[in-house]
Amino acid sequence: MLDSYYRAFIAEQRYLMYLDGLKMTLLVSLLAIILGVALGTILALMRMTAERRGKSTLLSKIAYVYIDIIRGTPTVTQLLIMYFVVLKGVDGLIVGTVTFGLNSAAYVAEIIRAGILAVDHGQMEGGRSLGLSYGQTMKDIILPQAVKNILPALGNEFIVLIKETAILGYVSIVDLTKVADFVTSRTYEAFAPLIGTAIIYYLVVKVLTLVLGVVERRLRQSDKR
């Protein structure tokens, strides 16, 4: 038993491979969530133009179609299309980041939109009645309150994203899961590398969950009497 763990993680300094794989997993996840939040915010604001006008606009339609297509197709398929068609021959890190960033943006957009819509409509009227513009009211009154609704769901999206990047190996980008695959093909033992890898994912997610819990409690503090 210990032997197989030794072969899976220690022999031939294999732990270095796992570290490299973990680095790729975390780097793609982090860059993708940044891209996803940036693009997702734009998409959410595009969709919000419909709420403001009371009817759908060109911008809201474009955003809706984008979100609809991304959510309606498998992430693996999107990854394959990126790797073999759109970004053919581009570095793996970029392919991974762009794929997951574009994918995540669709989900983040809906999280942000829902967070903004959850703020009581009276808040917008309160701001507007004081002569503040739509933009000023958004910035000073709506968004600070929406963040409270958005952050927990956004953290959840980040966790989902980290686990989803395990499909990067499909297009031979060497992430954590792909490393386990490599090692298995060298040692002909699947158990130790796969279980070990699963534990690493679990620990990463666990740490993130704990951090999110702290952030959430902080945000709730102003709700208390």
Binding site: G122, Q123, I141
Partner: protein, 240 residues
Amino acid sequence: MINVKDLHKYFGSLEVLKGINCHIEKGECVCIIGASGSGKSTFLRCLNLLETPTKGDITIDGMNIMEKGVDVDELRRKVGMVFQHFNLFPHLSILDNVTLAPIRHKMMTPDEAKKKAMELLNRVGVGDKADNYPVQLSGGQKQRVAIARSLALSPDIMLFDEPTSALDPEMVGEVLEVMKQLAKEGMTMAVVTHEMGFAREVADRVLFMDGGVILEAGTPEQIFDYPKEDRTKEFLSKVL
């Protein structure tokens, strides 16, 4: 001060206001009464364009606010509004609720705004709550803060949309008292209310609305003691 001519408002195909005509003088306190669904709140909200009238004319202080390209934000700085549900900003302290708009409009420096806010908060009796958050206040206190917040912009006109309807009975008095003071000081006020006692005592004129029109208008004595229309009599017999 406010002149309304043939004001109509549709929500989809539903006609809520069916031709409102009225005139409110400077310094006048006008109470608008009527059953729910009679269009009184919609009428009030048209006066600062929170609702966009479908057709008609509204002139405020010589400015036709129905014209295209009218500066809505400028108008709303001159026409304050107090809501049924207060609409205080829960993420800001009481003081910041009051100072936010004057500072954003660059009407005052933050220090001046703070000084004026404290004056106003003391005037409505919640000066000691300046550093608290809205959630820590009672309904009556919240509504008084909301009034102070509107007054911080030194408006020419104040609109009140059922300001006491969401309050516990024992808190209604303290809010009405603040409004009474305001009326005494000569503020031009339009108040949608179910507080008939307040309307009788404080209003210069009372408008009775029914079915999207002003059915009857007059002094409180005329409306409450000698109503002419059957609909007015019927309404008053239910609420008095």
